[in-house]
Amino acid sequence: MFDFAVVTEWVDGLLRSWLPESWAVLAEFFLIGLCLLLAYAVIALVLILAERKVCAYFQCRLGPNRVGPWGLTQSVADMFKMLIKELIQVRHVDNFLFNLAPYIVIISSVLAFGCIPYAKGLEIIDFNVGIFFLLAVSSIGIVGILLAGWSSNNKYSLIGAMRSGAQMISYELSIGLSILTMVVFSGSMQLSTIVESQADGWFLFRGHIPAFIAFIVYLIAGTAETNRGPFDLPEADSELTAGYHTEYSGMHFGFFYLAEFLNMFIVASVAATLFLGGWMPLHIPGWEGFNAAMDWIPSIFWFIGKVAVMIFIIMWFKWTFPRLRIDQLLRLEWKYLLPLNLCNLLLMVIVVVFNLHF
């Protein structure tokens, strides 16, 4: 399998031969940041197009089909529209917080985006507490949403922000616990180690019942965490116009929009990494020829494929279920998912201690 470390080490060597040590490190920071932001923007564009197309087919429509073949360049055109729009100054808002909030949201999302192992040798942030760091930085986004809702000086925004805050804080528990279940199983929090240890079978299959329950819970909680339907009541358009980002215009609105789509991508890729092996190809112990054939497919395609499937499932949720009420939403979390999760954690510990897994 192609190891991307070859490419990154070559770039590293090249820069070090040209520049002194510290300047080379600095240049690498900028290069990595540039690649990260570029990937962030491109993935967002692809996701926006995918969302519109999937939504259209679910509703028996055609979706975007005028700009470019099959509407492919529609979201690129939308991006340019967004970039050249005016940032409207709203009166009677707290300007400092109002302008700061979108950046907090987008920074938290980009930091989480940087933790994901994309392919063999393509990991940017790889701490030994990797998955914990990812959870930590993605929890910062709530602050941005709350600030946005409050500083807009608008009742709808404030209600949206409060709903969003309550929802994200509650569902973060479920996400944390279901990830903890998988950390117990893998015995490591480092994302690269987690992926490496799935070489002879993905955790979803090796951990059987508890892993499967954790997977389902993670998917539900992850969908809620990203404020997507059926849990999209923070920005329920028919009740709150647009929730916490009602007053935002131009690229500041764009930041919220981007962060929402990329958070979906992050949730999908964490699900793929923890349960479906990340970039690790499908291996079945004992089937040597089959494993070799699977290794032949590049790791990045495995990763993209798994993430695409997860994203499709999350979109499927959105266009299938009606929106929940706030009390139903909180009851689902606190009365059903949380006890289920705690029992599941215990079950996973039993499975690991008595070595009942494959």
Binding site: S22, L26, L97, V129, L135, I140, V143, Q190
Partner: protein, 169 residues
């Protein structure tokens, strides 16, 4: 004078901490104050990451930035009306605060000057997570099971107390 990249990063983080701490207490609006506090906590987490203690950095982010600050902002949203500004400080209060701050600074500086720190170095590589876990959950010397359990009892008491205050009669 040769300054390494590490030192530049440290000075930037230190400047952010100092400036935002001052702003957090001088601003008139309580939510801005909370936001400045958030930046102070971010920069502190940055210093932990610089020292290669990524576990503490991540804890700092998730507990303080993601937990405590969200709690603060939530309670501010629920309790303070729009356009709520802090009233002007009384003279006596101002001087009392100043004296308390100076006394605190004096104690800190005294300890920093008299305490002999170990050799200035940044340990390469991270501390393995297993070691931290054993230190938290062990009962031997320099292991912290008892404080850990005590804090969890304290938190449980807080939760019960909160429910007692909030429940409908």
């Amino acid at each position: 004078m040769e300054i390494s990249l590490q030192e530049i990063v440290f000075f930037i983080l230190a400047a952010v901490i100092v400036v935002c701490s001052v702003l957090a207490v001088t601003t008139k609006r309580i939510l801005r104050s909370a936001t400045h506090l958030l930046f102070v906590l971010f920069a502190t987490a940055g210093i932990y990451f610089q020292l290669n203690y990524s576990f503490l950095g991540a804890v700092q982010l998730t507990v303080y930035a993601g937990g405590i600050i969200v709690l603060y902002v939530f309670s501010i949203l629920l309790t303070s009306p729009e356009g709520d500004h802090a009233e002007k400080l009384m003279r006596g209060k101002f001087f009392a605060g100043l004296v308390a701050a100076l006394a605190g600074a004096a104690v800190c500086i005294f300890i920093m000057v008299t305490h002999s720190f170990g050799a200035y170095r940044i340990i390469p590589g991270e501390i393995p997570m297993k070691e931290i876990g054993h230190a938290l959950m062990g009962t031997e010397r320099y292991q912290y099971l008892l404080p850990f359990e005590l804090i969890s009892v304290l938190l449980l008491a807080c939760i019960v107390g909160g429910i007692m205050i909030a429940r409908k009669r």
